[in-house]
Amino acid sequence: MGGLRSYILRRLLLMIPVLIGVSLLIFAVTQMFTPEQRAAAFIRGEPKNPNVVKQIIKKYHLDAPVYVQYYYWLTRLLHGDLGISRSAHIPVTQAILQAAPATIELVMFAIPITILLGIYLGVLSAVHRDTIIDHLTRVWAIIGWSLPTFWLALLLIALFYGYLGWLPPGRLDPQIELFATSSSFVKYTGIYWIDGLLNGHPEVTLNSFKHLILPVITLVIISIALIIRVMRSSMLEALNKGYIVLARAKGLPLKIVINKHARRNALIPVVTVSGVLAAGMLCGVVITETCFNYMGLGYFAAHAAMQLDIPGVLGFALFVGIVFVIANLIVDVMYAYIDPRIRLG
């Protein structure tokens, strides 16, 4: 596995310039504002005294030359200081850390379901190429790909909450939320269904599942098209290979040939698009959480954007950029692990 280790090392080193670039891009955006506007990131509420703004500009070097500002900005960033969010009324870092578990809770269901169901439907579609199953799957994938996330979410809310009254928005029912945020409920992870089990309160777990159903369905329908598409075309390619013909010719049953010979090889491209899938999820989460009043990262970002909360939006973008770079690194390493041609090539 020596090849893999040096591959990971090489990728880690390559990540550094990208991360610096990411920070430079966000810093460049902050430079589009006046020093007074940038000073707002350090003030809670509305500044009453103009002298306070001047003091802050001086204290944080907001009118210094650009490279000096970048130095101080980067130093603050490395200390986890992204300024104060005007929409959340707390520091941006704190807001992100508070909101992250909710989004993780959502995505930990949405991503596996999307990938597994997408692979299943993609294989089904390829194996039954040009039959009714194939057409239905593809049409469904294209519809999911074309649906505005907010419409799907709003329709589900109107139907399952407004009309049927089954599945309410939010993360928990109000009474249960009151209990779950009280001091008698220990927050081990911030993920309610896990904390509910750890605290010995399964009703919290069940209630959080009830609230997760609709947002997870929304995210899956929106993102699954990509996986179906990639899986279908790579499966079609794999089914056409010589070793498939050979396996069939030597008398292996079709099911084994599909599952063991074709599908395994066809899975590799799915790994490479999982980075794109992660990006789609992160964007989907912004709209989905806003529609469902689900107070995670996306909800925070959308509300920061609605209120033109500059530190909030830029802090979130920077955070997502870093997460995404790391996610892509993991995808690349997984890819190299699965496919030796990459790490040795």
């Binding site: 990208v18 294209i142 505005p148 109107a158 407004g162 009309y163």
Partner: protein, 306 residues
């Protein structure tokens, strides 16, 4: 080379083109896509007839009163009204023009930037190439919607700034594809020949390389219009668009964001306010995606002839 020889040399290209067109004609999905897009083009062209403008700026939706509660479809307002009584029918009709404008402007500008930078990087290579590719890496490090959101917040609300943000986020893809194609064509014999007879670099790039390298990126980009309109709608939905009176589908949905479920006993009272504009967005994007999906299959050399 005389004309006969020239025609002969074109034959494989024409044969491939004919094959592609035949596949497009035979694919019901892409035909459906074309019909949908023709329908929207007709709406956009006929907008002044279908919904006569009431003010000097046709993109300003007329509204009767400031009542915040959406009203249901009626003879006066065939699709009902949104919050503050903006007419949904008018907004949907003129919003079609907005949608085409968003798609064409963003794709056009992003293509122009992408092809220019991509061909320079691909042709000259070296340091320019390295810098450009690292720049695209940085933009690729963000999911599109989120970076666009950050740009719009920095530039200020409004549809023009949404377009600018989408261009800034969109060009790297086209730059990369163009670069790859230019690098492939650069190695061809006819480029060598053009160099030998003393053509300038500019002429080689413009007359010999680009015409042979540009089609994949043109097709790819024109089929991106659906996705771009979808992202723009999401940004409008988040309140970053041109304000409640502007005829834009995403804006119409944003206007009704606080009216999803109706009152007790009549919970679906406002369904029209967010559903009708969303159907326009969905159908428009679906048209592009149906066409795009068929094209991608047809143009993909690994599954093309099966």
């Amino acid at each position: 080379m005389n004309i006969e020889e020239f025609k002969k040399s074109l034959q494989p290209t024409i044969r491939e083109l004919r094959f592609t067109l035949k596949r497009v004609r035979k694919s019901p999905l892409s035909l459906a896509g074309m019909v949908i897009l023709a329908f929207f083009a007709a709406i956009a062209i006929l907008a002044p007839v279908l919904a006569p403008p009431t003010s000097t700026d046709p993109y300003q939706m007329p509204h009767t009163g400031w009542n915040p509660i959406p009203s249901p479809p009626s003879p006066e307002h065939p699709f009902g009204t949104t919050y503050q009584q903006y007419d949904i029918y008018y907004g949907c009709i003129w919003g079609t023009r907005t949608a085409f404008r968003i798609g064409v402007y963003v794709v056009g500008a992003a293509l122009l930037i992408g092809i220019t930078l991509g061909s320079i990087a691909g042709f000259y290579g070296g340091l320019i190439d390295e810098i450009l590719m690292r720049l695209t890496d940085i933009i690729y490090a963000f999911p599109g919607l989120i970076l666009a959101m950050a740009f719009v917040v920095a530039l200020g609300r409004g549809l023009d700034n949404v377009l600018l943000a989408l261009i800034l986020v969109g060009w790297p893809t086209y730059a990369r594809v163009t670069r790859g194609e230019v690098m492939r064509v650069r190695e061809e014999d006819f480029v060598e020949a053009a160099k030998a007879i003393g053509c300038s670099n500019f002429r080689i790039l413009l007359r010999h390389i680009l015409p042979n390298a540009i089609y994949p990126v043109l097709i790819m980009a024109s089929l991106d219009i659906g996705g771009i309109v979808l992202t723009a709608a999401a940004l409008s939905f988040l309140g970053l668009g041109s304000g409640p009176s502007y005829a834009d589908w995403g804006q119409l949905v944003a206007n009704s964001r606080d009216y999803i479920t109706g009152s007790y006993g009549n919970t679906l009272a406002y369904w029209h306010a967010f559903t009708i504009p969303s159907i326009f967005i969905f159908t428009f994007v679906l048209g592009w995606n149906l066409l795009g999906d068929a094209f991608r299959d047809i143009l993909d050399p690994t599954i093309r002839r099966r």
